[in-house]
Symmetry: C2
Subunit: 426 residues, 2 copies
């Protein structure tokens, strides 16, 4: 039913794989226009001068909007207000207003008032109800939002709305060293459908059933309940499978907008008949999630933790996260040290019920390190050393007690991570 | 019923408090002889030359022995064998054989054979059954134990048995920068009772319902079931309340020996009538646990995380450990940055059911930072900065939803921690 041109997304993926952890080279022309969406980024001086820090995204009337938010109990004022506006407007969202430099979190009632002021200002200028504006903030926690600076930046943003995707990706960065954006055009029975998304995040990353800041747009038409279901499924296998430091932010959120302007509409039956659109969306969002790990604070390694043979998803994730968040495993990764004892110790403390360690195997890439719970007879330190020296490392654990499998992506823990977080006030 | 002279332990505590994080000055003469116990430490060259790395402890016949071991599923060969020997001997233990430099973990059947060989050798020389010897190992995981070196060191150790407590404390160190030993003599109706203990540990520290390596001796007489109960209670409030990096070791264990040689015996009724012995034991073991945090890898800060107003112990500990193990909180502590937003974010992600953040307060020492879930009006950055600049920092959180309270001790995360663990093969 659908014929997708996947070539483009595959090319981008391959390019990234070749240049993992090095500067990625997203060009403005790689990011496709999404009919029904215009974006702009301006310098508002929220925290620093001379950097893009205020982003406005305009969405055509009639678009559908899906969203997931952080589960952190201390969720920030913009998260609370966005949830309220989604409800109040019946999902009729027209603008996203995003600032970096200040998270407007832990700011109490004043934080809510400040976020509302910014939305009201934009709404008045654009001639839409205030509930049609969703606010998003990222940056320092616990400082009041500089409402005046944001309000002062809005006219400039509104007057420059267009296809400024790369600028928008830059305008939401905090400790990110590079913008994160992905785009694909797929062919659907001769009609092109576009998906373009941006994301930010480099630290305080463990999006617990929600995510960091990411905004993804398509010109396909998809009804809201279906769009929400799609987003949840996609996020669960992408942003909800990465961890830098195990710290879940107060401001995480991911928004998926469908404008319908391509003239291609997907019903539940369409998506059931072919998973191609969902696959393309999943691939794109997964790359955005991986981009965050590739740019993780202080990271030199892109690490895939692949847990196989689990009794269920829950125990696979438990083991995966214990490994991915172990400071000792992460410092060994940083040092390219095939210190498998630390991986083994991490598995052992994951708290799995009646775990028989005598059947566990551990591979580093293709190299078998542990078999039947102890050092593989074929293992040689040089083999492990070679795997650990790569910029992308696969840690594969087989628990040998079921058929569940889960993958989590993470980074190493370097002195640079400590330097960044000892100096940056997040 | 009992009159304890607490002065000594209090003096030691005060001294330590004054010199927290600086080199502690334990002198050999501060460590009291325990009648019925002789110890020796020798250089066996297990991993490095010219350092004490093999310790033998001799226990008089008729002593009782209590112990707790790591819950890591990958528990090391010596842990497995010690458990077996405790069972086989009916608790009639005569020797502890401890090496550093090699953990004999992840070594499979060969590891068990190696540990047994070492025990058998000592048993033969000392003329005791092999099950009367408990083996303990700490150091690198996943390498075979150098049995020959250990066996070669045993005669030297046996011939120098005596009151060499400080050497024994040195002989079990790995990345520790200083020996950890505590000793107290208490007066019981005119008769002195002594408790002396040593411990090691600086990284891979989160003793999950067990502990790192610690050996504590008293010349009081206490029946085994009661001794075990005492040890469990004491460990739960000391070693089980510290974390350096959340990584539970494969080799953790704590042993408490009561020789009865003081002539003072404690029955359950005695201990119920007065908690003084238990209090003294608890205070001593707590100081040993804190010594580990004071010497934590790369640490510059001694941090007390004090969670009050919880609905139950479980949720207090959940919040305490999320804060104590958050890389972002720990790097802020390292930088003396009063970054309360990170503490707040950590509380928010602890997963407490229906947590009303609007009632939470956070203090740094005496300084109120957060009240009713948001920045305290009285708070000034300079006040927080002053608290965070201290070598010992108290983070006090009141959840305002119950009366439970739990305290956990931890350290900061410094670049030095990463350096140590990127170069040390644990």
């Amino acid at each position: 039913m659908f014929l997708w041109v996947r070539q483009e997304i595959q090319t981008v993926s391959r390019e990234i794989e070749l240049s993992i952890m090095s500067e990625s080279h997203i060009k403005a022309e790689d990011l496709h226009r999404v009919e029904g969406v215009r974006v702009a980024a301006v310098q508002a001086g929220v925290r620093y001068k001379n950097r893009l820090d205020l982003v406005v995204m305009e969405i055509a009337p009639g678009s559908t909007v899906a969203s997931v938010f952080t589960l952190n109990a201390f969720c920030a004022a913009p998260v609370q207000l966005s949830r309220k506006h989604l409800k109040d407007s019946g999902g009729q969202i027209r603008y996203l207003l995003i600032n970096t430099g200040n998270a407007n979190a832990g700011t109490g009632q004043k934080g809510l008032d400040d976020a509302l002021s910014c939305c009201a200002n934009l709404a008045a200028q654009a001639g839409v109800p205030v509930s049609a504006v969703l606010p998003f903030s990222t940056g320092v926690i616990g400082e009041n939002l500089p409402v005046d600076k944001i309000v002062a930046g809005v006219p400039n943003a509104l007057s420059t709305l267009g296809d400024n995707w790369l600028d928008a990706a830059k305008g939401i960065m905090t400790t990110d060293t590079r913008p994160k954006a992905r785009s694909v055009v797929i062919d659907c029975n001769g009609r092109p459908v576009t998906i373009t998304g941006i994301a930010k995040g480099a630290g305080m990353i463990k999006p617990n059933m929600a995510t960091l800041l990411s905004f993804v747009f398509t010109d396909a038409g998809i009804a809201q309940p279906l769009l929400q279901q799609l987003l949840k499924g996609v996020v669960d296998q992408s942003f909800n499978r990465i961890t830098v430091d195990g710290d879940t932010s107060t401001n995480d959120c991911c928004v998926l907008v469908a404008t319908g302007k391509s003239g291609v509409n997907f019903s539940e039956a369409d998506l059931a008949a072919s998973s191609d659109f969902e696959d393309a969306l999943q691939a794109l969002v997964k790359e955005l999630a991986k981009d965050i790990i590739r740019d993780a604070e202080g990271a030199k390694k892109f690490v895939t933790v692949d847990i196989q043979g689990g009794a269920d998803t829950g125990e696979c994730l438990k083991v995966a996260y214990v490994i991915a968040e172990s400071p000792l495993v992460k410092t060994a990764l940083s040092a390219s040290d095939p210190n498998w004892g630390r991986i083994l110790a991490a598995i052992g403390r994951a708290g799995l019920h009646e775990l028989d360690v005598g059947h566990i195997s551990i591979h580093l890439g293709e190299v078998c390190i542990v078999e039947n719970g102890t050092l593989a007879t074929s293992y040689r330190e040089a083999l492990g050393q070679a795997e650990m020296s790569k910029p992308a490392i696969d840690i594969i654990v087989n628990l040998a007690r079921g058929s569940a499998r889960e993958i989590v992506w993470t980074s190493d823990l370097s002195e640079e991570y400590v330097r960044i977080n000892a100096s940056y006030r997040s």
